[in-house]
Symmetry: C2
Subunit: 327 residues, 2 copies
Amino acid sequence: MAVKSRAATASSNVPVKELQLIERIRRAAAQARPRTGSGIGDDSAVLRIPRGEEVLVTTDFSLEGIHFRRAWHAPDSVGHRCLARGLSDIAAMGGTPHWVFLSLALPADLSQRWVDAFIGGFLKLGRRYSVQLAGGDTAQSPGGILADVIVVGSVPLGKAVFRSGAGAGDVIYVTGTLGASVATLQELGNGRKLRSSSHRRHFYPDPRLALGRHLREKQIATAMIDTSDGLSTDLRHLCEESGVGAVVEAAALPALPGDNRLQFALHGGEDYELLFTAAPNRRVPGKIAGVPITRIGEITRRRQIKLQMPDGESRPMLPGGWEHFAG
Amino acid sequence: MAVKSRAATASSNVPVKELQLIERIRRAAAQARPRTGSGIGDDSAVLRIPRGEEVLVTTDFSLEGIHFRRAWHAPDSVGHRCLARGLSDIAAMGGTPHWVFLSLALPADLSQRWVDAFIGGFLKLGRRYSVQLAGGDTAQSPGGILADVIVVGSVPLGKAVFRSGAGAGDVIYVTGTLGASVATLQELGNGRKLRSSSHRRHFYPDPRLALGRHLREKQIATAMIDTSDGLSTDLRHLCEESGVGAVVEAAALPALPGDNRLQFALHGGEDYELLFTAAPNRRVPGKIAGVPITRIGEITRRRQIKLQMPDGESRPMLPGGWEHFAG
């Protein structure tokens, strides 16, 4: 069913709070203003896609110890971030998110307070973008908090922006700043206590939905991807899918100030900005939906990705380098 | 993206086999005959829904130690079962499955052989029903094998069969047999080595897709659910959603022979049969798509679920009783 659990039976091995969670999710889903479609409390959700549109689906794990730590991330931040990942994927297609499915496995000893705050952060972000909780699954976790978030959206038929549309000569742009999320992680790793409000881009990233839609509607972007893995990896994905290469100017990167500014901007993941290309003669605004847009380089026919340093030296831009914080 | 992983970076903490797995999933998805839509290797999958249909979405966790055990279940059986759960949900709506998304988190020490056999069992069942692997996510698991399977299907607009359509006087039917899966679990729990071929309904359940679609097309079923949690729980769900009660005749249940036949038929889960209701004057064939259909009781106005024993005695049919094997 859409909101379900094998644990919804009366068997005695199920912690009460899991049953409460299911009820809470059901209530939250039921209270949401019904969009098109139905099926809450059924075997599958039934979703009515706007006429003339096709469906976008993206799934993202958020696993304790891999994607977040309870000691570092407040529960509402964990809820926010695990939905933001999927919304950012929809943004990168130029689409609009409509529904979300939350599969959640919880350890038996997890406090109800943690769960409530998690769900609160998750639903708050959903409300901001009119995304309706349409179902999911719950289970008892054999170890750690496990969430899998599925976002379903839509885009006008044939209008999705793919990674594969970049051509030689296209200009490369990125939204916002790069490296903010990993900079926060470094401070956490150094044992600093952080006020999450001053580290919003890490704890409460705002997916670039209006911006992505604008780039699609105005037919600005020839190719697009979100910067979830870090610029060096995400640009590589875009170039591979497009069968092209790139030259990036190090001095042009919208990095935050700091000792590791270039490393963080190149390899820091989880910024959830948009990386896109546009035809060379296309005028691209300096700001869209309130977010600055920065020109960072150019697409090349030769299938190499190069980084142009301020001293004129050019070197291969290798993916990775940023160590996952669980490592 | 549709098939993605944070681990798709070159960071050193990622086991090589995880990268291989992503490649394997990508190849498998790419080799599949393209249906409508595209988006493999992109931020989201782009799916084109048949005109005049609405979308069905269902998600199911399959967690090691909760839903399966490595010592009991061969890897291809685990792959088969975790997809069968979702397909059965689509069957219970009278729908047709089209795409599947596989989110998979694996422990670092899992053998590539296990993973290959798992993917093999998963894809083999997918091919049987022309269900295309359209994406997913991979991650390193903090403990145990974790799969979340999302099946996307469709059904003609307004034609989905819900749990909520049963009316007083409707006759209750169930497909196939009840209790086969839990009977196998009991033997496994008693330490027996089983040949999985002789316990197909547990190890390789075949979702009742053709049957569910027939019941919808011929407008036979007024309400429907699959028996994933066990008859006593699933009938309760159906009655609650429909606002009715039921009387079930114990002697009529299509139970397997054995000591615990009634308990298993009432409370054994994971049979993935279809439980449905039909108007009292509706002729229902004794067999549909090669599967026997058994009349087991009647829907009542009074909101109680009763079990009529062969001696004429009638008692409340309480949900559960069947202990989850992880308990």
